[in-house]
Amino acid sequence: MTPLQQGPILLPERIANLIGLGDGLLGQVVGGLIAAFLIANIMLAMTAVAGPWAKRKITAAFTDRIAVNRIGPFGLFIIIADAVRLLSKELIVPEGVDRPAWDLAPIILPASALLGFAVIPMGSGIQLADPETGLVFAFAVASIASLSLVMGGYASNNKYSLMGGLRAVAQNIAYEIPLIVTAASVVIFTGTLQMSEIVAVQREALISITPALTIPQWFAFVNPFAFVLFLVANMAEVGRNPFDIPEAPTEIVAGYQTEYSSVYFVLFYLGEFLHIFLGGALIATLFLGGPAAPIAALEVIPGFVWFLIKIWAVFLLTQWARSAIPRVRIDQLLDIGWKGMLVLSFANLVLTAIIVGVIV
């Protein structure tokens, strides 16, 4: 990790200073570890809330039901109950699975998502690292997820899993390119890949009425078209409706995770939610001003809270889509990806480049 001269002080340095280790090598290592541990735990805690509780409550709201309400206030203790239940189940290892690939797949998936959070500026000074190529790093580690899906699908010795794995690859390739190309249009605006810089650029005013009522230059406002493209591509990237083809419960049972039970299932489940949150974090950073408040008057609320709100909004959107949009077929998915999204995202990139080149 190269020490950074400019930009805000990062979380590891702060922790190192706080516990009095200074900015030596020891301070960097210990501070980094503690900071990583903290961020990972925040994300895991959010997943724990999202998976067993929030998802159920949200789905229930869409379907006129109540959902968990028996254990604890608002049924919140279901989180603990579910954790105990899932972890105490027997881990069934089917005959003929390809170990250790079968064991590694469920570890890689959450790990890849957690790594991505390392470069996300979460506001209130919470950022693990701020490399100059932060955006590329985030996309790179997030893409490792498809490797996990393929590994799990292939190693399970199950035809449904295999089909799920293959679908996952086809889908990820088809949608990662539009995703990154759309992100590139943001980079053209900002001229940097550094996450903190991308956020900083968006802080400038787009429309300023009074100092308190200033609408910032978020790229969702500057280029809504790219925002929508990115949202859709992201939905496919994290495999949510209408693009939950790799799992497709009514077609291929549960896709790549058919044969996973107990702890491994929990890891897959965690990984999926972490990916939704990582997708949300990327959307927030690239298009919604990161941890910034929408208007200056609301800046009394800390940036980290704004960041969480934005992530959860994206999570809510995935659940909303799940309740209302049918799954597309695999060939339609690829059609949309290669013939639609790819073309549109390149068009968006070229247009942005022209506009930026001419006007700015």
Binding site: K159, Y160, M163, V253, S323, P326, R327, V328, R329, I330
Partner: protein
């Protein structure tokens, strides 16, 4: 005792053949005549089945092989082909094919009617008649290892049929992994799969994501309902069982199938008031069944227990509450009796009418919501239009009925074409869509819900105005019914899934000698390979959902 409808009633200008004209047409093929209550029967030799059936199909227009009944009599085996016309369901003919006891071999009707494929397999499986020229004569409902034919006379009920797994057929036995040249993949979809609507096993051969071939393997839920009915008395003991064929809230429709056959058999007149209640109850059941069909179809396409499924279940729940008030139960109604219904409307009647009317008032709004959610959704349209195509001629040949047939553009609804109950006096339409695809079948079901609501509304009005002293809910029927010896009847009603027919042969006792159920799902499921071969796996799942099968009725 003849309940034959007058022969001069001519519907839609379809040519009507008298029994003698048909005998002349068949000429020397006929070796004897029988008189079934529903239709004239022609006895033909076992090697002339194809010739006779093609004559009837091509020359006389009997293009609907409704059912194949096989039974063992004291001195012979018998296959009965119940033929109808799609253009006029009241024209019926029975072709009786006796075969010798020691060598029960009969010609297969499969080349003439594709639907005979499964029906004859079932006949072979349960009764033991051998069909010559059948493309694939193996057991269909029972496991391959089963010994004996359960509905034959010398079948040993006591004999254990336990077969160890090792002796049974193991679908995984063949190891295809080393088969390097193979371009296809064999996949067992089911018996435990989220989208098979019960325990259905589809032996699918996939070419990549596309279905190269699919062979439905049924019988996991086989309870031999036919034999259960043969062991019950006409008057009481059979009626609870029809609820359990199509157990997804179509109970009253099923009960009506038995009631209609048995009432015509025993010459029982049903009071008009009871007919109105029956009509209303049956249509409530149809709404409940179609709501579930739409909900599960959405589930198959959407992929999760999401909004549409829950909204569909919610509407169905309201219907079930009304049915509970009326019949006392939510699924297993046992509400019809021979000669009427068991209970009058619940007191206070106004409350019941209000509740029903409230439901009917809210229904259009709910349906509008469904149209917003499902049929108006572009992705769903992209998923369903043009997939699972079932051309009308193929559908007819397979004996598909109900919304599946009407989704293929064939205007055939027994409620109108072979009127029973109070339908004739009500104002409603038959819903037909000619898209032949999954979307049309979905639309037919949703439109039929509207039509059913119309029927119920009219029934409620009629019931409300019915004079209090004329509320006769049941005819006076003896406690023991013994229909005359050797009378046979085949009668069908329009169930939720299609034509639900019952064949009964009486032998002078209080229990039927042969009770055969013509299940609409059984025939409809047979079309699945036609619809899904060459399509993608998700489309096959959607097609299966659009067929709306209930395994309880397929396997009986």
């Amino acid at each position: 005792m003849s309940l034959e409808r007058p022969k001069d009633r001519d519907s839609a200008g379809v040519q009507r053949h008298s029994a003698d004209e048909i005998a002349d047409l068949l000429g020397d093929l006929v070796i004897g005549r029988e008189e079934h209550i529903n239709a004239p029967g022609y006895v033909i030799p076992p090697d002339a089945v194809q010739e006779t059936l093609s004559l009837l199909k091509n020359e006389a227009g009997f293009d609907h092989l409704s059912c194949v009944t096989a039974e063992e009599r004291a001195d012979r085996y018998e296959s009965i082909y119940h033929l109808k016309k799609f253009d006029d369901a009241t024209q019926e003919v029975s072709v009786v094919v006796p075969t010798a006891k020691d060598n029960p071999v009969s010609q297969s009707a499969e080349p003439v009617f594709r639907t005979a494929d499964w029906h004859e397999r079932e006949a072979y499986d349960l009764v033991g008649i051998d069909y010559e020229g059948h493309p694939d004569l193996r057991r269909i409902l029972l496991p391959d290892t089963w010994q004996g034919h359960p509905l034959s006379m010398d079948y040993d009920q006591e004999r254990p049929q336990v077969v160890s797994l090792r002796e049974g057929a193991n679908p995984l036995q063949e190891d295809h992994r080393d088969d390097q040249d193979s371009e296809t993949m064999y996949l067992n979809i089911g018996p435990h799969h989220p989208a098979t609507h019960g325990v259905l096993h589809l032996k699918a051969t996939l070419d990549g994501e596309q279905v190269a071939d699919v062979d439905p393997d049924i019988g996991y839920l086989h309870r031999c309902e036919e034999q259960m009915c043969q062991n019950g008395t006409y008057r009481y003991q059979i009626m609870p069982y029809p609820d359990r064929w199509d157990y997804i809230s179509a109970g009253l429709l099923n009960e009506w199938a038995y009631a209609r056959a048995a009432e015509d058999l025993a010459d029982i007149e049903v009071p008009e008031y009871a007919q109105v209640i029956r009509t209303m109850g049956a249509e409530l059941c149809r709404i409940a069944a179609h709501m579930l069909a739409v909900a599960t179809f959405a589930l198959d396409v959407y992929g999760d227990f999401t909004a549409i499924f829950m909204y569909g279940i919610r509407e169905r729940e309201k219907v079930q509450n009304i049915l509970e008030d009326l019949t006392g139960q939510r699924l297993m109604f046992n509400y019809f009796r021979l000669g009427g219904v068991v209970w009058d409307l619940p007191e206070p009647r106004d409350e019941f009418f209000d509740k029903t009317r409230d439901f009917l008032e809210e229904l259009p709004e709910a349906l509008e919501e469904f149209h917003d959610l499902i049929t108006g959704n572009e992705i769903l349209q992209a998923r369903t239009i043009g997939t699972g195509v079932l051309p009308p001629e193929v559908a007819k040949s397979y004996g598909a009925t109900g919304p599946v047939l009407r989704g293929s553009g064939v205007d055939y609804d027994l409620r109108r074409d072979d009127p029973y109950g109070y339908y004739e006096n009500l104002d409603w339409d038959v819903c037909v869509e000619d898209g032949c695809d999954n979307f049309s079948r979905l639309l037919v079901r949703m439109n039929e819900v509207e039509e059913s609501a119309k029927i119920i509304e009219q029934c409620v009005d009629i019931l409300e105005d019915w004079p209090e002293d004329e509320r006769n809910i049941q005819a006076n029927v003896p406690r023991t019914l013994r229909p005359d010896d050797d009378t046979e009847i085949y009668r069908a009603v329009e169930g939720a899934k299609g034509e639900l027919g019952i064949y009964i042969r009486a032998d002078g006792t209080e229990k039927p000698a042969r009770f055969k159920i013509r299940s609409p799902c059984f025939s409809n499921l047979q079309t699945l390979p036609e619809m899904s071969n060459g399509e993608y796996v998700p489309d096959m799942v959607a097609s299966l959902g659009s067929l709306d099968i209930v395994l309880g009725e397929v396997d009986r």
